[in-house]
């Protein structure tokens, strides 16, 4: 199939997502502005005002209302999209579970930002990591290009009849959302054809076939079985994510899987990262490879469903792995670390694993930090044991009063 390219533009991550939403042309968007997501809500509202989309834009009074309005619209049979960040996602919390429980394929961009307190508007992954158990598919994006590509794929993944689950597409607040980058946009027509027309299985507006959404399902009912159905849908999404990733590759020349391996197959040690840190990590790998160090990167794209089997295959040959978490779970390790370590447990011969927390509250993450992680890994690889399972990258030296 011929590669169809559209326009190459220099736009921010937020603008790229807004363009993707314009091309998808959803029936309903209900969103509430929050830094650093604001430009998405704002730009998309401009498209609505200018008549460039057919979307009904619902200006709501909070994110709780935004997700609630999304539910209602989805029950009516609409293709629904929204976007949020941080406290906004936190305020949506209870409705996130309802969206997945009712199996509505809502597509939401989450522009990753930390959670207060202290109040801070910058990037970390505490928001989406906190929502990891809400039953949403979670996709992470390294760049503006990936955020754009991912929301287009998210529509197809979520709406697939084997899946019918909401999808959250993440990108790093400010670092990607507000950086101007080179982005290849597809033609409007090819996005329209790629996402196709949404055919909901049920719709409240279909008066010929009345249905009841959201009934009570108590002790004597089937709550447990419905949860199992949701778990199975998430399992089936694995195959769908890969299929849509291949289809998108045929369309755009950019194919997507569960993760991207960068100089990993011949590496001895590697870091695992999400989002924009992957770019800086790859850059550092190139520098260190030139110095002769056997280092590599695994950039995880799909966090839910977690690609346990494939991840084990990709990592099993390594001597040591560092999982880089841009979030914490006080009282235990970083969330990504816990999952990677659990995944590796079943391997007979497995790499040693360490956890580094970095970049909380937008703290800058530089090549020197990744170098520091790699140096620790090379030392672990040499000694054959982990002495410090959890460490932090980029902390300032300051006295902290407990």
């Amino acid at each position: 199939m011929a590669k169809i390219t559209g326009k190459i533009v220099a736009i921010t991550g937020n603008a790229a997502v807004a363009q993707g939403m314009r091309q998808i042309n959803p029936d309903v968007v209900a969103a509430y502005p929050i830094t650093p997501q604001t430009d998405i809500a704002e730009e998309f509202a401009t498209f609505v005002a200018d008549g460039l989309v057919d979307t009904e834009y619902i200006a709501v009074e909070s994110e709780h209302s935004a997700m609630s309005a999304c539910l209602g619209a989805a029950a009516a049979g609409a293709r629904v999209m929204t976007a949020t960040s941080s406290q906004g996602l936190a305020l949506m919390w209870e409705i996130l579970y309802i969206a997945s429980g009712m199996r509505f394929p809502i597509v939401m961009t989450n522009v990753n930002r930390c959670l207060s307190a202290p109040i801070n508007i910058h990037c970390d992954h505490s928001d989406s990591m906190g929502a990891r158990d809400s039953g949403w598919i979670q996709i992470y994006s390294e760049s503006a290009q990936e955020a754009y590509d991912n929301i287009i794929q998210a529509v197809r993944i979520g709406e697939d009849e084997k899946v019918r689950l909401p999808v959250m597409v993440n990108m790093d607040g400010f670092i990607v959302s507000h950086s101007i980058e080179r982005v290849e946009l597809l033609e409007d027509e090819s996005v329209k054809n790629f996402v196709g027309e949404y055919k909901p299985s049920f719709s409240l507006l279909d008066v010929e076939h009345p249905v009841t959404f959201g009934p009570f399902d108590g002790l004597g009912g089937f709550y447990f079985e419905h949860k199992l159905a949701q778990i199975e849908a998430m399992e089936r999404s694995r195959e769908v994510i890969l299929r849509i990733g291949r289809e998108f590759g045929a369309l755009s020349g950019r194919e997507y899987g569960f993760f991207e391996k960068y100089r990993l197959d011949d590496a001895e040690v590697a870091v695992i990262v999400l989002n924009s840190a992957a770019g800086t990590s790859k850059h550092t790998v190139d520098m260190m490879r030139r110095e002769g160090h056997p280092v590599g990167v695994l950039k995880l794209r799909i966090f839910r469903p977690f690609p346990t089997r494939e991840l084990c295959e990709a990592l099993r040959h390594l001597r040591a792995v560092a999982v880089l978490d841009r979030a914490t779970s006080p009282g235990t390790t970083g969330p990504l670390f816990g999952e990677v370590k659990a995944a590796l447990y079943d391997l007979g011969k497995r790499p040693l694993v360490v956890n580094f927390i970095y970049g909380l509250g937008g703290r800058e993450f530089k090549p020197e930090h990744i170098r520091c992680a790699f140096e620790a890994l090379l030392e672990i690889s040499k000694k054959g044991k982990v002495e410090k399972p959890l460490d932090y990258l980029g902390l300032k030296e300051v006295e902290v009063i407990s």
Partner: protein
Amino acid sequence: MKEWRAEKLMPGALIPLGGTARWYKTGSWRSEHPVWNEETCKQCLICWIYCPDGAIKVKEGKVIGIDYDYCKGCGICEVECPPEAIKMAEGGEPDG
């Protein structure tokens, strides 16, 4: 209407029928029941507005009685009725 039973669970706990709440008769929850006095009723319909369960039966714009299939016995109608034409009585069953 035949009661619907889940033989095959629909995605998202959807029920492929409408108006299913009518099968759920909440009258059994009652421990007191309202008694409506047609003589003193002014037909203001305030009870009908306030009843949370739609259990005030109205025909051609006039109150004709209580729907004991759904009345939960909350007593709001008694509190709100200006001419005190609704009184709560002991026991769930209207017959005593």
